[in-house]
């Protein structure tokens, strides 16, 4: 025999721990996956029911359609609303001049920062 590999006795127990542990990690995250897939569907269903109840469900959308919009679409809509409402194309043309008065404080007074009596 060219190479003799000695496998420690603990390795058998280790394999059991590794397989079980990996399976449990997978199980935990698989449960999260199912839960949040279901949650998103449930919330979508709830929104649909509210819209139907209040008669605001758009007729052109089929009932089985996905109501979710992509982040990109949401960003485009938000940008459009911003451009439509918040961009200041029209100004009021009213100028307001406010007088700003400062409270005098010797701590910030420049005159005290100058050494007037310096003798060389």
């Amino acid at each position: 025999m060219f190479l003799e590999i000695q496998i420690p006795a603990t390795i058998e127990e280790g394999i059991v721990i590794a397989f079980t542990g990996y399976a449990i990690v997978f199980l935990a995250l698989l449960l999260l996956f199912y839960l949040f897939s279901g949650l998103s569907k449930f919330l979508s269903w709830q929104i649909r029911q509210n819209l139907i109840k209040t008669g605001r469900f758009p007729k052109h959308i089929k009932k089985e359609d996905d109501l979710h919009i992509s982040g990109e679409t949401a960003a485009a809509i938000a940008m459009a609303i911003y451009l439509c409402r918040d961009l200041h194309d029209d100004e009021s043309n009213v100028l307001t001049i406010k007088k700003i008065s400062k409270v005098y404080s010797p701590w910030s007074s420049k005159i005290y920062g100058i050494n007037r009596w310096r003798k060389s």
Binding site: P8, I11, A28, L32, L35, S70
Partner: protein
């Protein structure tokens, strides 16, 4: 300043220095008493003159200096510390971690007098020293949960909530932990030590410190005497986290072809505020019920996230994600660095741990990429996953997601994968913490 003042100041400084030297020599006499008491006694008995006494004092002073006590190990570790600082400043490799750790390595390896059982209360392993007190946060596993609180308060789980299937990539990449565990067992480490070493494959520094402080802290665990491996494990985990941009890309390129690397994924949907609030609560309950050992880590992670998403605790979330995590990072980095005192750190086991750590990162990356390709076999043609994001399943947040983004842009300059990669990346954080909890429950 006038020249005469300068002269006066120099004379005064010289007097002060002489006074300090005198005082030091006097003190070193008392410190060194047990070591060379015979010498002093004989000098006193023989009534040697003042000059001989001064010479004796200087000799003792020299015996206390770093130059006298330095070993080659100290010098090697100081060089390593300097390398860390260089990498952080010159190449911007995780500077927030490598600068404190690098400085800590230098601090921990400044040689000092340790013979004769004298405790000068200087070193990190000496009872009562300031560094020893700060190190308690590492040994008792206090810092990692606080880091997780900050991570939770700065993490946006939106990408994960919008594409829950990407959670599975975070689970797949944890294969690195369990294969490294088996590798460590094969190399002769005992069961708890192997568990602590395995967690390096999770690519999560705080989790690695947390688990090693429980399983490989030098005490008896699981009926077995363990060695103190906190230092090597923490340094390996953080070093490889900083080196993610070097380790991961070759593995990603090896396991994917050009067509797969340019797959465009569907943009993530917008996530409602309600979903963002429900996520940390449900995930906390679910994951900690499955793996209670991960409670300190996951409890703090999801608590931090709830502070952020609730919208009513902005001040607390801001503190957790800025000041608190910064303070803990400073203390953690410095003490972990200082724990690499050469006589404790420079062993053959540390080298083995570093080799296993590098392999674990490779295996974890490969695990994520391969699983993404497997998922593609079951996905519809318009809903494919870019397998590169599987590499982000290792929980080095956000480094591995950034690596995925860079690799994606290399093959298609308009294909931005960052947000898609963040989903497996944060799932990896949860996965590695769950794995740490499972290891604890099996091995403690």
């Amino acid at each position: 300043m006038k020249p005469q003042y300068k002269k006066a100041l120099t004379v005064a400084a010289a007097i002060v220095v002489l006074f300090i030297v005198h005082t030091l020599l006097h003190q070193t006499n008392s410190f060194a008493a047990p070591v060379s008491a015979a010498g002093i006694t004989s000098a006193e008995n023989s009534g040697l003159n003042f000059g001989a006494e001064v010479l004796n004092g200087i000799q003792k002073f020299i015996s206390f200096t770093g130059f006298r006590n330095a070993s080659s190990g100290n010098l090697i570790m100081i060089a390593v510390g300097l390398l860390f600082i260089f990498l952080a400043i010159r190449f911007d490799y995780e500077p927030l971690l490598l600068v404190p750790i690098g400085t800590g390595i230098i601090i921990g390896n400044i040689p000092f007098f340790q013979d004769g059982g004298i405790n000068l209360q200087l070193g990190i392993y000496q009872q009562g020293s300031v560094l020893n007190y700060l190190y308690y946060g590492v040994v008792k596993g206090i810092y990692p949960p606080l880091i997780f609180l900050g991570i939770g308060a700065m993490t946006d789980f939106s990408s994960l909530i919008s594409s829950p299937r990407l959670i599975l990539l975070g689970a797949a990449a944890q294969v690195g932990i369990f294969l490294t565990f088996l590798g460590a067992l094969y190399l002769g480490f005992n069961m708890p030590e192997a568990g602590a070493i395995g967690i390096i494959g999770g690519a999560d520094g705080p989790t690695a410190i947390f688990l090693s402080s429980k399983l490989a802290n030098g005490s008896i665990v699981h009926g077995l005497q363990t060695k103190n491996l906190i230092g090597p494990i923490a340094i390996a985990a953080y070093s490889y986290m900083a080196l993610v941009p070097v380790i991961q890309p070759p593995v990603m390129r090896l396991l994917t072809n050009k067509k797969e690397r340019t797959i465009r994924m569907k943009p993530a949907r917008a996530v409602s505020k309600r979903e963002k609030i429900i996520f940390p609560i449900v995930a906390l309950i679910l994951t900690t019920f499955i793996s209670p050992g991960a409670l300190p880590l996951l409890g703090m992670l999801f608590f931090g996230n709830l502070l952020k998403e609730s919208g009513v605790t902005k001040r607390l979330a801001d503190t957790a994600r800025t000041s608190l995590i910064d303070i803990v990072t400073i203390l953690l980095g410095l003490t972990v660095g200082a724990s690499t005192q050469a006589d404790v750190f420079l062993t053959s086991q540390s080298i083995l741990i570093f080799v296993l750590g590098a392999l674990s990162f490779v295996v974890a990356t490969a695990g994520g990429v391969i699983f993404a390709k497997v998922m593609n076999l079951f996905s519809s043609s318009d809903n494919k996953i870019n397998p590169l994001i599987g590499a982000a399943g290792v929980s080095a947040v956000p480094d591995s997601a950034r690596v995925v983004q860079t690799e994606g842009l290399r093959y298609d300059s308009t294909n931005h994968l960052l947000m898609h990669a963040m989903a497996p990346n944060v799932a990896g954080v949860i996965g590695s913490a769950v794995a740490a909890g499972i290891m604890m429950s099996f091995l403690m």
